[in-house]
Symmetry: C2
Subunit: 507 residues, 2 copies
């Protein structure tokens, strides 16, 4: 743990630093960029750079050396070609809603904003595809095809604000990814610009594309392999009917087991979420969704499809959760009630803001059968670290979002929170899970990558990176740690749920 | 076209050649391998090597220098380490059912058979996963979990024989991949051995894994990046009910449009297949499935799910196809009749063997809306090349399997067939499709890759290859052509459906 704590203050301090002076490197890069690009799209003044100093992981802040706001693919190509020629790092940024610091700029680098790439270029109903620019907001796609009875399935909580380029870079999920998959399952083709400024088409609108699957490789690569300038997404028909069941339990373990049983029964809910008692209390007080405040845990189970399908599946859900010991089951009677059931879940994060000055949203994934054990383990860690935690899970996927409540103004509390978060990551790995579900690694979890991956696999990652970006100029020091960094961190690789040292088995 | 024809005879001639003599290189490799491995697993005599001379693309035959049949991962590591040290190419082979020559050996190389890796290692019902060795047959997985109400979804026609390692290497599909996805959507983790003999775990049993998506990258990489030694597959619950509709049309165009309309209506059939008139005639004569022999085309549309879901969706299928001009609709009354409907489709390939001495199975993919146009285009090409063709499609996916009928004993007919096949590939590309749906590139379509991909993308493929296999020892000269080869072929890259030269627009 020492390593995490000794590193973090330095990283945080970067944010507090004064803006870099208009030094030689900055002047040189600015001249090189404005020689080929309109001067007004190359931002250099501190007040113009300030909006780019952080993304959704606001504990980390840094001003970029310069920011560029291109509006054409040719301009993106020019920016990358120039950065490559000048050995200057580049961080691409969409809407900046990421939660792991993936868009945190570098003081010695260029911040490349894709904000102006905000047009939907084509909607092809026969093939159910839309071609969009990377800066298009996630929800805007569904809104644009709503009148056609279609929608874009991945729905991260930030979908009002987050943009599709960032969704691809982070392989975003959402409440509905249990049934409809992550971003990687919902896109078919992208255009990228390489660090050399070359434009590549990756993937194909057809079923499958020969050659290596670079589309999946790019998806979730956190901006380390190329800059996405166009995306072709799949559109799905809106289901005829959707119903949500609100299911209460007097015991977290029973709720966790019910999740496993629902899946085991072969039911594929459109969403299957779980809130524990602290999360229920905080959200109910905030939005009055009608959650039972005496429950130890609730499940929200949404079923969509045709009328017959929903009726059949809902009956089976009822059967399974009754057998699992549910104390109360309410099924939404109409879309108004369904929206109300979801309102609590969707407001869970802001609700925490009302009961705690700060909260830290974790994001780990575990096999579903371990849900109850990990929940209980998190409770034990909460006592050990002396900090409150509320749990809001994409339970069906085994994707956890423990929210650690803290007060950044209390000395040491942020550091303790991050240590607690690290312990949760290791707990997920112990149970055969991963350190991130859908929020990415970024700067936040880069050290935890040393715990998840042995050096042979990290070496392979770096070899793949070199195949795209030999100079490591694209979003450096994020997502994949160097072996050197892991050695410094004192890499504790957990394999097949076994920690290498027995004394670490219960952190 | 000249280039294809001038190259093919040479490739074919390789098959006719005499076995390589026990030359120095062979003796040296044999000594190196037997120094570390049991002598009986290193095959060197011609009669022992003969079974490995070809895969399902039997027009291409070559004897390997040596064949090795390891039974442990350590032995696979040793084979690859030794080959790497001796700069000797290696071709890995599963069941040898591939249709694009991906397992064709090299006369100067080692053939690595995974046949002994045929055990199911673990079945995890709570998480619906099975851990299997690569030599396990596709169907054997579903059989092993049948009593648990589960199955493994991808179902290539060869599923009785083909093995899961090969399925991963080729990203195999099948009748049900419309609803349940290709292999890449149905596996969560693999173990590979690199050409250096290093063992890597790729992917994760959890929802998502951080780092680059090497699992998707490996899937469909046709043995060029590593040797798969273990696979964790997803298992699905068997649907409560499945029904199949047999739908007849008096016009191919109406049938093609009906496919697009079914998908547009938001129905996701478990399978949606199409047979044209020659295919109907040949199969009906063979298996008497009750297909209407006067129809221009039939669709087989399978719906699975709960009873309510099947009833709802089948009613909507009926509505849509009636509006599209179907002349006859029969819905299977029970599983016996359903099996009968499918029997024709499943026997389509052998049925061709009864009406023609030889047939060449093509595999292209097009956007669904182009189905009718491409079918008509294939008919025109059939007249132009003077050869009969029967069409059996995974219509819902836009995945075509035109079967070109020929007689290898007629001089020039094989070459004409392959030229015809090349023209079909280009036709698919013209309509925004790809040159392969699920059979891979292998040796068969390597030149067509030059047509599909511009050099920038091929260069990126080679860079990725180098990140895994810098010496290009793994399955060389397959799947991804060198730029040199494309230059010799006279690369005709088709981008966005536009051929670069107007005179090529209608080959």
């Amino acid at each position: 743990m020492e390593e995490i704590m000794s590193e973090l203050p330095a990283a945080h301090a970067a944010g507090a630093g004064a803006p870099a002076p208009e030094n030689d490197a900055k002047a040189r890069m600015r001249a090189a960029l404005t020689a080929e690009l309109p001067e007004e799209i190359v931002l250099h003044a501190e007040e113009d750079l300030r909006p780019f100093e952080c993304d959704g992981l606001s504990a980390y802040r840094r001003l970029p050396m310069l920011a560029v706001l291109p509006s054409t693919i040719e301009q993106v190509q020019a920016v990358l070609r120039i950065c490559h020629a000048h050995d200057t790092p580049v961080v691409a940024r969409g809407a900046g809603t990421g939660l792991s610091g993936g868009a945190l700029p570098l003081e010695s680098g260029v911040l490349l904003s894709l904000a102006k790439f905000n047009r939907i270029l084509d909607i092809d109903t026969a093939n159910r595809r839309a071609t969009v620019q990377p800066g298009v907001r996630n929800l805007a796609i569904s809104q644009a095809v709503d009148h056609l009875g279609l929608y874009y399935a991945p729905d991260p909580s930030s979908q009002i604000a987050c943009s599709i380029g960032g969704n691809v870079a982070e392989n975003s999920g959402g409440v509905h990814c249990l049934k409809y998959g992550l971003t990687t399952n919902n896109i078919v083709q992208i255009e990228i610009v390489t660090i050399e400024g070359e434009r590549l088409t990756i993937g194909s609108p057809a079923l499958d594309s020969p050659g290596y699957d670079l589309l999946a490789l790019m998806t979730g690569s956190e901006g380390l392999l190329g800059v996405i300038v166009e995306v072709v997404v799949k559109l799905l028909p809106k289901p005829e009917l959707a119903q949500c069941a609100l299911i209460a339990f007097d015991d977290v373990r029973k709720a966790g087991n019910a999740v496993a049983e629902i899946i085991k029964a072969g039911i594929v809910p459109a969403g299957l979420e779980m809130l524990d008692h602290p999360a229920i209390l905080a959200t109910e007080e905030f939005v009055h969704a009608g959650y039972p405040t005496d429950a130890a845990a609730i499940l929200l189970c949404e079923i969509d499809g045709t009328e017959g399908e929903v009726a059949d599946d809902m009956a089976r859900v009822r059967e399974v959760v009754e057998a699992s010991g549910a104390t109360d089951i309410r099924i939404s009677r109409d879309d108004v009630e369904r929206a109300l059931f979801w309102a609590g879940r969707k407001a869970a994060f802001p609700a925490m803001g009302r009961i705690s000055p700060d909260y830290y949203c974790m994001d780990g994934t575990i096999p579903r059968r371990a849900l109850a054990d990990v929940l209980i383990g998190i409770g034990e860690l909460s006592e050990q670290y002396g900090q409150r935690v509320a749990n809001v899970f994409h339970a069906g996927d085994g994707n956890l979002h423990p929210l650690i409540l803290y007060d950044a103004n209390q000395p040491g509390e942020l550091e303790n929170t991050e240590a607690f978060g690290g312990a949760i990551c290791r707990l997920c790995l112990e149970y055969g899970g991963t350190i991130t579900g859908e929020h990415g690694v970024g700067v936040e979890k880069i050290d935890q990558m040393c715990v998840q991956f042995p050096s042979a696999e990290l070496t392979q990652f770096h070899a793949v990176k070199a195949a795209f970006d030999a100079k490591t100029l694209l979003n450096p020091d994020k997502a994949v740690p160097t072996l050197h960094r892991c050695a410094e961190f004192g890499a504790m690789h957990v394999h097949h749920g076994q920690l290498p040292h027995p004394e670490l088995e219960r952190l």
